[in-house]
């Protein structure tokens, strides 16, 4: 006759088993243990350095000696409002907004199709296609775009072949956004930004649309909504958190970038470039810090406004 199993099984795994039992009895201990590395990283390394940066922005630089004066003042912030600096901020803001809106418009149909209609292997193809541009170096992509957009580049050639060269000239003759060639204009900068940040918009929207239950779309049609109205009243509000998530990426990445406008653009500065030169060659750490605070404040205001407008109601 076989030995009957006891009601309570013995702990056979030694110290590790004992640890499991302890965690099972005190689940909070495990949560705490899992949180410590994240808390250390976020709290000390990340937030700490951010606070140090914030502190720097309240110092100012002595105009004669060029040395940082370590006393709290708002003088550096006042400098942001000088015409040449305000221009930079507005320019960056306008570019970030344009890139964000354009990527949302471009990304939505792609994300919607993928979420609604792609299954199995096709979905894998979609993920690959969307993320493939992220596999190669950012610098390589930007330089590649410089060649594409250059006066002697493939785009100019294509316009020529299609006999729509005048259309390109017309675009380049537009005030402010035009320029000598696409690679030396804001349009060029915009196109490159749009290209490199687009995946960050597509993926969150796709995830958000995928979470919209199909029967809500049925219900909307059942209650009398044409497809357009279903989109306007059901799909768009429910996908909005995804669009906002994507726009946080495209908006903040554009706000902070200093390489794209340096390689493709008309030489006018963006916030990122100013931060780069002020903390480097110019040695004006306080002004660089103050410029860095601008995108943080803008993002804060943006998220607050999105929340007020109900973008997160569906969460």
């Amino acid at each position: 006759m076989s030995v009957e199993a006891p009601a309570v099984l013995p702990n056979r795994r030694g110290a590790l088993g004992g640890l499991s039992d302890t965690f099972w009895r005190r689940p909070r201990l495990l949560v705490l243990l899992l949180l410590i590395p994240a808390a250390l990283w976020l709290g000390v390394v990340y937030l700490g350095s951010l606070l140090a940066l914030l502190l720097q922005s309240f110092f100012h630089i002595d105009d004669f000696s060029g040395l940082v004066v370590h006393e709290l003042t708002l003088r550096t912030y006042a400098e942001l409002f000088k015409p040449q600096n305000a221009d930079i901020i507005l320019r960056t803001l306008a570019m970030a907004a344009a890139v964000t809106v354009a990527s949302a418009v471009l990304a939505f149909p792609v994300a919607y199709m993928a979420a609604r209609y792609l299954r199995g292997a096709w979905k894998v193809v979609f993920y690959l296609a969307v993320t493939l541009p992220l596999w190669s170096s950012y610098l390589v992509k930007v330089y590649a775009w410089k060649l594409i957009l250059a006066k002697e580049g493939i785009l100019t050639w294509l316009f020529g072949v299609l006999h729509i060269g005048p259309a390109l000239d017309w675009i380049l003759n537009l005030p402010v956004i035009g320029g000598n060639s696409l690679s030396f204009s804001f349009i060029g900068t915009f196109l490159v930004f749009l290209y490199i940040w687009l995946p960050y918009m597509i993926l969150p929207i796709q995830a958000a649309v995928e979470r919209v239950p199909v029967n809500l779309i049925d219900a909307s049609a059942d209650l009398g909504a044409s497809p357009l109205k279903t989109f306007r009243h059901v799909i768009l509000p429910l996908a909005l958190p995804g669009i906002v998530a994507g726009s946080i990426f495209t908006f903040s990445l554009t706000l902070g970038d200093y390489i794209v406008p340096q390689i493709v653009g008309n030489g006018r500065l963006f916030i990122g470039q100013v931060v780069y030169t002020q903390q480097g060659t110019a040695g004006n750490i306080p002004l660089a810090a103050a410029f860095t605070v601008v995108p943080i404040v803008i993002m804060g205001v943006y998220l607050w406004a999105a929340r007020k407008l109900g973008a997160f109601d569906a969460l």
């Binding site: 029967n215 809500l216 049609a221 059942d222 209650l223 009398g224 909504a225 044409s226 009243h233 059901v234």
Partner: protein, 334 residues
């Protein structure tokens, strides 16, 4: 009189699967019509065809005399209460109910007043400002109902609306739905797999199996006079008697049904009956006790009032029933 909904030889195939196969159906205006069947029997597909979410592969569908093939759901004056309610999570209860009115550009004040009225009708007055996520299952069910009736549709479709509710709530909702249908006078088409629900609520029942309608009739028709083995078995848990057994009793080689409550169970040897058997199991169901009796290999269910003295498991008993309790169905070889 023109039918509220009329299906003529309607088929719907998904690849090789015949979800619906040449279904004929007439639903009268103001009728409470139930479509009953096991899952996969085609009853939900039938509902989706009437709502317009699916298109038939063959046959015609008419709603109040108008052909609706190719008419999208948003142009049909038919509303649906969905199985899992399908409430819009980003809108509060009032805006959920007023959704169809908003689409028809009814002014805000007016549509909110009408939505309040509909909520009042389903006894949810005052819940307008809540979100669907803050409601219980029963309350969500009522919101879905209010949303579907606020527009006074010609036909209301209900897709297993009570399936997710617990028993007590389900029973009270059954009564409320019935009362609501009387008040509104709208044609209700109700899909369910619960035969008790279908029998207690509907004016008429269509029993579906394998994409076909097996029988259409009043609850009493379907319960007492099933036309096939399937209906007898699915509706009312009747005993289905094999042709040989039926031949032995009534002299005809046909399938037959015998309702459990028609069987009298007596102590062995009592009465004039020659049928004796053994009690295999007994289950207590409140008002009745259900017995499984083995009759030389034929197994029969009997329902005995629990007020009577009921034999125990393993006891020998004699059973009897009136000959006309045997309801003959299709002919059978075996």
């Amino acid at each position: 009189m023109v039918s509220a909904v009329s299906l003529q030889k309607v088929s719907r195939h998904f690849g090789l699967v015949k979800a619906m196969d040449e279904v004929d159906l007439e639903v009268m205006p103001g009728e409470f019509f139930a479509m009953l069947g096991p899952s996969g029997s085609g009853k939900t597909t039938c509902l989706r065809l009437i709502a317009g979410f699916e298109q038939p592969n063959a046959g015609h569908i008419e709603i109040f005399g108008e052909r609706v093939e190719g008419v999208p759901p948003y142009r049909r004056n038919v509303n649906t209460v969905f199985q899992d309610y399908a409430l819009f999570p980003h809108l509060d209860v009032l805006d959920n109910v007023a959704f169809s009115l908003m689409l028809r550009k009814v002014p805000r004040r007016e549509r909110h007043r009408l939505a309040e009225e509909a909520l009042d009708l389903v006894r949810l007055a005052g819940y307008g400002s809540r979100r669907p996520g803050q409601l219980s299952g029963g309350q969500r069910q009522r919101v879905a109902l209010a949303r579907a009736i606020v527009n006074k549709p010609k036909v209301l479709l209900l897709d297993e609306p009570l399936g997710a509710l617990d028993l007590k709530l389900r029973e009270s909702m059954q009564e409320e739905l019935k009362a609501l249908q009387k008040t509104l006078g709208i044609t209700f088409i109700f899909v369910t797999h619960d035969q008790g629900e279908a029998l207690s609520m509907a004016d008429r029942v269509a029993v579906f199996n394998d994409g076909r309608v097996q029988q259409i009739g009043t609850p009493e028709d379907v319960y007492k006079r099933p036309v096939s083995r399937f209906v007898a078995d699915f509706v009312g848990s009747s005993n289905v008697l094999v042709p040989d057994f039926v031949y032995w009793i009534v002299g005809e080689k046909r399938w037959a049904s015998l309702r459990p409550e028609a069987i009298h169970v007596m102590a062995a040897g009592a009465g004039a009956s020659r049928m004796t058997g053994t009690i295999l199991s007994r289950s207590y169901l409140g008002p009745v006790i259900r017995l499984l009796i083995d009759l030389n290999g034929t197994r029969l269910h009997a329902a005995v009032p629990s007020s009577e003295s009921v034999p125990a498991e393993g006891e020998r008993v004699t059973i009897g029933f009136a000959k006309d309790a045997i309801h003959l169905m299709e002919e059978g070889e075996k």
